[in-house]
């Protein structure tokens, strides 16, 4: 009873009479989120993916500005400066990256011995080329190949899948029979055969990677198209007089952007891998061009005595692959509506 008494003691003017406003009954308090805002909210919670995005941006930036940072050109040979271990100003005091390397089993400061005043941050190779510059030049080439190959895969795959799925009937039949035969051919075999008949180089690698790369995308896009084309909003648009082209580009395609993006994120590391793989077994890029694959190949040959030549490109390619895979995983969780909780 004490409580009621206290309530009566409360000042009347602090209270205000409210009435239920039936107009506002249906009002949504929280702002409504679009699909992309929602996806971004979920992606933001995925720490691994966010860190990977930063790492990736950093690597891309370094690939662009890295080759110009220390004044050594990537193809400038200086035999007097060959086989120097890494030496970085500042860190050299700490006992690492101080230019000390193995010479006949003894630890010797090779910079002092060869009277080199310059700093080679990641060392030099057997021809005296600066490995720091070459590493980022190589990363540039590898990323370029991966992005172009992925872009071509997306364009061909989406177009093929949309046409096959949307028009159906005889068109679909013929297009799918072609895919069924092509999908049986192992990617590796096609890539190697294609690369052998073309002049080795960036174009050859891109063509080799894309020649079967689009098939996975086309199958996914076709399945999605089949799902959407029979839905009411497409029927509504058609009833209102939309042409096929408009229905496909304005109504069907935007609905599957998420899945296309997820798939692309897994295509890119695949392309990076194949480029490095081809260059590693010696049928990819040819010297003096640098890519992560050729650098790893160079490093592998001298691994025994100068492990730093292998270490840096191996690290960059591994980090790059991990970052792309983590971003891909994060995007899949964020964009795939089936995972929505």
């Amino acid at each position: 009873m004490r409580k009621e008494f206290e309530i009566e003691q409360l000042p009347q003017e602090d209270f205000e009479r409210i009435t239920i406003d039936s107009d506002k009954a249906e009002r949504i308090e929280k702002p409504s989120l679009s699909f992309w805002q929602d996806a971004w909210l979920r992606l933001r919670k995925n720490k691994a993916a966010i860190v990977s995005v930063f790492v990736l941006v950093l690597i891309v930036l370094m690939a662009l500005i890295g080759p110009h940072l220390n004044g050594h050109a990537g193809d400038a040979q200086n035999l007097r400066h060959a086989n120097l271990p890494p030496k970085i100003p500042g860190i050299e005091q700490m006992g690492i990256f101080d230019g000390v390397g193995n010479l006949g089993g003894k630890k010797v400061d090779l910079y002092e011995m060869k009277k080199v005043d310059e700093y080679y941050w990641f060392g030099t190779d057997g021809l005296g080329r600066d490995l720091f510059t070459r590493l980022w030049l190589g990363t540039q080439v590898s990323l370029f190949i991966a992005f172009v190959a992925a872009a071509i895969d997306v364009v061909i795959g989406v177009a093929y899948g949309l046409i096959s799925g949307y028009f159906g009937g005889r068109t679909d039949d013929i297009m799918q029979r072609i895919v069924e035969v092509l999908i049986g051919i192992p990617t590796l075999v096609v890539v190697i055969l294609m690369i052998m008949i073309m002049k080795p180089g960036i174009t050859a690698i891109i063509i080799a990677i894309t020649i079967t790369g689009w098939i996975g995308m086309s199958r996914i896009v076709r399945a999605q198209t089949l799902k959407y084309k029979s839905q009411e909003f497409v029927l509504a648009s058609r009833t209102l007089g939309s042409k096929d082209g408009k229905i496909v580009t304005k109504h069907i395609l935007p609905n599957m952007l998420g899945i296309i993006i997820i798939n692309t994120m897994f295509t890119i590391p695949n392309a990076i891998f194949f480029e490095a793989f081809l260059s590693f077994i010696g049928i990819g890029l040819q010297p003096p061009a640098a890519s992560l694959g050729t650098l790893i190949n160079d490093g592998y040959k001298v691994m025994e005595h100068q492990s730093y030549v292998l270490l840096f490109p191996a690290l960059v390619i591994s980090i790059l692959m991990i970052a792309f895979n983590l971003i891909g995983d994060g995007l899949r969780d964020a964009l795939d509506p089936k995972m929505k909780d």
Binding site: E180, V181, G184, I185, P186, T187, L188, V189, I192, L193, M194, M196, I197, R219, A223, L226, P269, F273, A276, F277, F280, I281, G282, I283, I296, G299, Y300, M303, E304, S307, L310, A314, I317, S318, M321, I322, F324, N325, L326, D329
Partner: protein
């Protein structure tokens, strides 16, 4: 089912004929010549050599002969190893590749399954994050990088195992198998984790728990079996990954296997051997994918093989 298998076999056949045809004509457009290493010959001698290998005839005739021999299972004669048939060459190199592939597959999937189960049973703990991170590493780090590092640290620096070659019994096979196993390990760990988490939250597991089954029994007797079925679907990509991996891993460890043969044949333009190896790889992968599709339908009857979609 019979109709489906028949249809698939026809497709496999068409694919193989296509691969054989494509690789034959692609070989003809190659810049190098298989008898380039015989450069000191004069024209008459060259003609004799060309006649011996049957490359003096017009291309369509060569193609017809090649396909006819292929139908009989004859892959032709190697140019690089004078007079040796490609069949013998590949047969002599099959064993190391098979041993490595089998070891990598068994070790990789077993450890992967254990890691995946551990991660699923201890979800969101240190074990889960640890094994998930390990799986990401395995998927991301290219096999040749991993193989080089293994060779550098374990064989070269610590001298625990042979650096390469195939002459030290089981010891020779440890490092290459490990390098090859990373892919299957990571893939199956990821896959089993996702499947186990899904299965563990299903009604029949709750029922088993309500009936008083203990954790071990639930994990292995009830959940594990159902989580294992979908693993069959990744067998195809796994096999493809093993073949790709074997090319570089055999190269790195100097293993006299099929992969190493393929790479060195490319280097010397040994057309017949390249075509033979290409076909061998293709047959292997196509058959694996075929078996996987059939197995999947047998194990999980809910999947209708005759359905045309997808």
């Amino acid at each position: 089912m019979v109709k489906y298998i028949g249809k698939r076999i026809v497709y496999m056949f068409i694919t193989l004929v296509l691969i054989a045809t494509a690789s034959f004509f692609l070989m003809q457009t190659l810049p190098g010549s298989p008898i380039a290493s015989y450069s000191k010959l004069n024209d008459t001698q060259k003609a004799i050599v060309e006649k011996k290998y049957g490359i003096d005839k017009p291309k369509p005739v060569q193609y017809a002969i090649y396909m006819k021999n292929l139908a009989k299972g004859d892959l032709g004669t190697s140019f690089a190893f004078k007079g040796k048939s490609v069949n013998d060459l590949l047969a002599s190199r099959l064993k190391p590749s098979l041993i490595l592939g089998a070891q990598a597959m068994v070790f990789g999937t077993l450890v992967g399954i254990l890691l995946g189960m551990l991660a699923a049973l201890k979800q969101n703990t240190f074990w889960d994050y640890g094994s998930t991170f390990f799986a990401i590493l395995g998927i991301s780090i290219p096999s040749f990088v991993f193989a080089s590092l293994l060779q550098y640290w374990i064989a070269s620096e610590w001298q625990l195992l042979p650096v390469g070659l195939w002459n030290d019994g089981w010891k020779s096979s440890v490092l290459p198998s490990l390098a090859l196993a990373m892919g299957p390990l990571a893939l199956s760990a990821r896959f089993i984790r996702t499947e186990m988490i899904e299965v563990l939250s299903s009604d029949y597991i709750t029922l088993a728990r309500a009936k008083g089954a203990n954790g071990f029994e639930i994990a292995f007797k009830h959940a594990f079996r159902n989580a294992l079925i979908p693993l069959i679907t990744v067998l195809g990509p796994l096999a493809a990954g093993l073949v790709t991996g074997s090319l570089v891993v055999e190269q790195i460890f100097a293993i006299p296997g099929i992969g190493e043969q393929f790479v060195s044949s490319i280097m010397v333009n040994d057309h017949a051997t390249i075509m033979g190896t290409t076909l061998l790889f293709s047959v292997f992968l196509i058959v694996v994918i075929f078996i996987v599709d059939i197995l999947y339908g047998v194990i999980d009857p809910r999947i209708r093989l005759s359905g045309g979609k997808g």
